[in-house]
């Protein structure tokens, strides 16, 4: 499963948003990958996510693979669109 999103919050992928993403991604058994700017990072790694340097309006593709991939993608997409407010 994969889907592309746009970063909506002002600060971009700072520590707090990245932390929120990792927390949600880690709730699932499926692997989570985040692709942006030609790089692929582990979506359960806060340092990996932050190192993508995503800013407001940047695009990212979230890829989930595993038993609960549908639910994982839905929840992560909702988080991004909700500006990372849990």
């Amino acid at each position: 499963m994969e889907q592309t999103f746009k970063i909506l919050n002002e600060e971009g992928m700072h520590a707090r948003p990245a932390g929120a993403f990792v927390k949600v991604a880690s709730e699932f058994k499926s692997s989570v990958e985040v692709r942006a700017n030609g790089l692929t990072k582990n979506g359960k790694s806060i340092m990996g996510l932050m190192s993508l340097g995503l800013q407001k309006d940047s695009e990212l593709t979230v890829v989930t693979i595993g038993d609960d991939e549908i639910e994982a993608l839905k929840k992560l997409g909702f988080l991004i669109e909700n500006k990372f407010q849990i």
């Binding site: 002002e10 520590a15 707090r16 990792v22 582990n42 359960k44 790694s45 806060i46 340092m47 340097g53």
Partner: protein
């Protein structure tokens, strides 16, 4: 004797506890038992995480969620699967010892972050380094001192003490602070004043020239530190300290006493604050309200301006904390000596005469509106007054008020409630505004005289320039006559006149200001009770007579001499 900068008054005598940068020696060589080494690493990870959880909880309850989040982020870095798996791999494949593997793998991340073209991300390298050093210390069994749980009385000596370290300090056993970095307005200094902890900062080489266990005497007011002094010095300072302690105890008995002069004039003593953290000290010293909340500190030390919601929470906290007592919040006073990297203020030849405070805010309406909306939304939680800084003309008052009313209209339309009794006032700190105070009085609810800038502008003396420091004179008749003019203008139009600059706490000037008719004095919380004690012994009619004579004198020196004789 060593001399640093005075950061927080008071005298402390105790043995030094030097917080050293421990020299970390990584274990180099081959680990034979991989499984055991990985087990050792996992254990260090677990105890580090437990430590961070405690820090998070403690900081959250003492300083709030926002300050605590840093420790939550550290916890996530610590458990990052890329990091953990990377370290496991290095141990398995290369037989590295755990501490060496941690250093190797974290450095890869640190280098990656340091290379990013974004200052925020580059600073995150420091967080990773913190986490790395936490795990390595555990592996090497290097004990770090737990500042929150000390066994005996100490004076802490360090290169720097971070705000989060300050927040966790054991106040029962920490008697004073000495640091190498920082000035009077650094966060450590401000927090030390709030905690009423004697502190000397900016003392270069302190953590090298002072050893743990040295007996120290520190005088926070003079910025002096004595290392292993002789008996006589210790005795002198013990006496001085005892005197200060008994004086403070005596002053505290005045906390609930209303400030009324001998002949019955009521005076309001209010506090200057820079953060919600100062509230405890405001209440401890029995302030009648907050006369100046400098909001610029909310905007400093960050890489973007605070959001409306973030500001709202802070204003709400301060207003709620003060209950029915008045709270004067000054809108952003930036520029001059206070620079914000994320605002587009170009470098100027004369920043004090430049693009600053209200002048900037009226040009950056979105920023100004965010602050005003936050203030209006918070207004229902207390007794709010809004104050505009650096006003020089009537047009600026009108413009600022127009923006304020627009915000109010927007909010009401959105269905938010706004208090109907908010007062709007201005700082009087530009001579032109002081001179036409009678014309401005009809348009505002109060004046607050900002003497730090007013003196600098009236005397044309840059207060940062040490060569001409002596010309910066609060006793200059030009300064005093102008202040008298402002107070009279306020009286005539029946609006409140306050003073929130350093002058308000100058004991040699209290009687003159009282005699001129000043009713609201605002100052650092620590100075309130001393001023109250003085005012209780004064006579308003007496003071009026003194003012008459003082205003006829023609030099600062003559006025100073006259006051001394009184």
């Amino acid at each position: 004797m060593l001399i640093g900068k005075s950061a927080s008054h008071g005298i402390a005598i105790a043995h030094a506890l030097v917080l050293e940068d421990v020299n970390i020696k990584l274990e180099i060589g081959k680990a034979i038992d991989h499984e055991a080494e990985i087990e050792r690493f996992n254990l260090a990870l677990k105890t580090s995480k437990e430590e961070l959880d405690v820090l998070y909880q403690r900081t959250r309850s003492s300083l709030g969620e926002e300050k605590a989040q840093i420790f939550e982020a550290h916890g996530l870095i610590l458990q990052d699967p890329e990091l953990v798996q990377g370290i496991h791999l290095e141990i398995k494949e290369h037989s590295y010892f755990a501490s060496y593997a941690v250093d190797l793998v974290t450095n890869r991340f640190i280098e990656m972050f340091e290379a990013m073209d974004n200052e925020y991300m580059r600073e995150r390298a420091l967080d990773i380094r913190d986490v790395s050093s936490r795990i390595i210390r555990k592996l090497l069994a290097i004990n770090t001192v737990d500042l929150s749980d000390l066994l005996e009385d100490v004076i802490l000596v360090a290169k720097d003490i971070t705000p989060s370290q300050m927040a966790g300090i054991d106040l029962k056993h920490t008697l004073g602070i000495v640091t190498e970095i920082g000035g009077k307005t650094s966060h450590t200094a401000i927090m030390a004043r709030t905690m009423e902890l004697p502190a000397v900062v900016g003392l270069q080489g302190a953590s090298r020239s002072i050893k743990s266990g040295d007996l120290l005497v520190i005088d926070g007011e003079a910025g002096e530190v004595f290392v292993n002094p002789d008996e006589e010095t210790i005795k002198t300072f013990q006496e001085k300290r005892n005197l200060l302690v008994s004086l403070k105890a005596e002053l505290l008995t005045l906390k609930e006493v209303p400030t009324i002069t001998k002949d019955g004039r009521k005076i309001h003593l209010e506090a200057n604050i820079a953060s919600a953290l100062d509230l405890s000290s405001v209440l401890r010293n029995g302030a009648d309200g907050i006369g100046l909340f400098r909001t610029e500190f909310i905007f400093m030390d960050r890489d973007k301006p605070p959001s409306e919601d973030e500001q709202y929470e802070i204003y709400k906290k301060v207003l709620e904390g003060m209950g029915e007592k008045p709270v004067v919040i000054r809108t952003l006073d930036i520029g001059g000596d206070k620079h914000l990297p994320y605002l587009q203020i170009p470098k100027e030849e004369n920043p004090f005469l430049g693009f600053r405070a209200i002048r900037y805010c009226l040009k950056d309406i979105p920023l100004f509106k965010r602050q005003l909306r936050a203030l209006l939304r918070a207004s229902i939680y207390g007794n709010l007054s809004i104050m505009f800084p650096m006003i020089s003309s009537l047009e600026e008052i009108q413009e600022a008020k127009t923006v304020l009313y627009e915000c109010e209209k927007e909010l009401r339309k959105e269905g938010a409630s706004v208090s109907s009794r908010i007062r709007v006032g201005i700082m009087i700190e530009i001579p032109a505004a002081a001179i036409i105070a009678d014309a401005l009085a009809a348009h505002v609810d109060f004046f607050s005289i900002g003497t730090n800038d007013l003196i600098q502008y009236v005397c044309a003396v840059d207060r940062m320039n040490e060569n001409i420091h002596a010309l910066y004179d609060p006793f200059h008749p030009g300064v005093l006559r102008l202040i008298d003019l402002v107070i009279k203008a306020g009286e005539h139009h029946q609006i409140e006149v306050a003073m929130c600059g350093e002058m308000a706490a100058n004991e040699a000037l209290t009687e003159i200001l009282l005699g001129m008719g000043l009713t609201h004095f605002s100052m650092a919380p620590g100075s309130l009770l001393k001023t109250k004690k003085n005012l209780l012994q004064m006579n308003f009619t007496e003071a009026q007579k003194i003012v008459k004579e003082v205003l006829n004198l023609s030099s600062g020196k003559a006025i100073r001499d006259f006051v001394r004789q009184q």
